[in-house]
Symmetry: C2
Subunit: 271 residues, 2 copies
């Protein structure tokens, strides 16, 4: 089963567009876990166990693992998800991109070493920098388009013949990069009107939507702007608002509560 099929099934079986982002920040991991041999893995495992039936995907952010030399605990987390919840797609958020020969190595990192279902990719270096990812037809390639951060517009909103760069990227991905039907784009939750335009430009292409929760994106407006005709088409990520909802022994219960609220809030506006 390829990434897109797995995503479709996960949308259905969980009745959810919610993706939980795994961003394990050492400062915010509950103290009682820090005495264990693998606190980062234990933290992620508890979040995964508490939210697995509420999500359409998990999205580990590799920077948090790499920053503390914990690639081994990332691998253990990924193995745990794959073995325990094999129906849930995993999107590795690493925003890679480089010349072809090097991008081959990044594709190997994501798909062969970490064995994830999809990976985020930065489009600035053009199609050949994404090609080694795109060529993996069974895998998802999630390309940055209009991101959710304050400075996103510095480049993405620059206008080319009256059209912002991010729309050019979306059209380029849709027309030229998606021959294996394995592309998604990243569209920040903070810009619903831009999301509506991107939905028009890309048909049913799935959007990975960061910026809900800690980053302040409004759920109703983004869902109405970004959903496809069947009320899906969105992978709505929330990381900090869910995984740090609590900071004590009950953190996983708190995470589940916020994940459930977020899933249900999203579902109110899907149809």
């Amino acid at each position: 089963m390829n990434f897109m099929q797995k995503l479709e099934q996960a949308w259905s079986s969980s009745d959810s567009l919610l993706c939980v982002g795994l961003d394990p920040n050492w400062q915010k991991i509950p103290d009682h876990l820090k005495t264990l041999p693998e606190p980062v893995f234990e933290f992620c495992k508890a979040i995964v166990d508490a939210t697995h039936d509420l999500v359409c995907a998990f999205k580990p952010q590799i920077a948090y693992f790499a920053g503390m030399q914990a690639e081994d605990q990332l691998e253990k987390t990924l193995n745990y998800i794959r073995e325990t919840y094999p129906h849930i797609p995993i999107i590795l958020d690493s925003k890679r991109g480089d010349i072809g020969a090097t991008a081959e190595m990044y594709a190997a990192e994501a798909f062969d070493r970490f064995k994830v279902d999809a990976v985020t990719v930065n489009p600035y270096m053009g199609q050949d920098s994404a090609q080694p990812f795109l060529d993996r037809a069974d895998k998802g390639v999630v390309i940055l388009c209009r991101t959710s951060n304050p400075g996103a517009g510095d480049i993405q909103d620059l206008e080319v013949d009256g059209e912002p760069i991010y729309q050019r990227v979306a059209t380029m991905v849709n027309r030229h990069w998606n021959s294996n039907h394995n592309c998604c784009i990243v569209v920040g939750a903070t810009w619903p009107e831009q999301m509506a335009t991107l939905r028009e430009l890309t048909g049913d292409m799935p959007f990975l939507v960061p910026g809900v929760g800690a980053q302040g994106g409004d759920v109703e407006s983004l869902v109405k702007a970004g959903r496809t005709a069947d009320g899906r088409g969105l992978i709505i990520n929330s990381s900090r608002a869910i995984i740090y909802a609590g900071d004590d022994e009950n953190f996983a219960i708190a995470a589940r509560r916020v994940a459930l609220e977020t899933r249900d809030l999203i579902n109110q506006h899907r149809q």
Copy 2:
């Protein structure tokens, strides 16, 4: 001593603008090293030892290490360079970039974990995505501008008010991102006329120049287009053409020969 000072000194002491890229591809590592406990480290160490007096910097490409789960051998390579040749700046080529909180972790990866002097950064997400790197005033931040790969123009050459994006990026970096005077930009060797324009736009800002050697960039034209008034300003990277010049027990000797030729060829055109 900060990165820029270290770079200035390395340009002088080695009389070289050459940077050797450490891209250890398992298929190309000489067979006699593969029976050793740490072949990737041994390969990199031999290249470093054979070329250290000919270079102004080393540039390890993290993708090659990450693709084969060899971050430990990257760390060992970096430690070896730092301890044995402490005057040579190390540029980690990782092309990172993400929202602020995540970029903090990538800055920690590069500067605290790997302890390198500079890192490559992708600008597509805008200034706040680069800020955690820029804030490290003692470190170098090498921002992708006009890359050397075939598809580079897909986004970088799109014109905004008659000016290509890559020039916008150069001006933005020069005017707004460089308050700590720690920025460099990446300018592919394959585009000398673009390099000349970028030199005009950015004063004495150092350029990291990939694309010499295996990627086919012409040394004379790029040096004449990109050098500063004092015949420096360039970090000219060659990876494959040097490190895979030989494929047997004499690979390091072959690497030194090509590195020496490349340094001397560059030096012919500096003044």
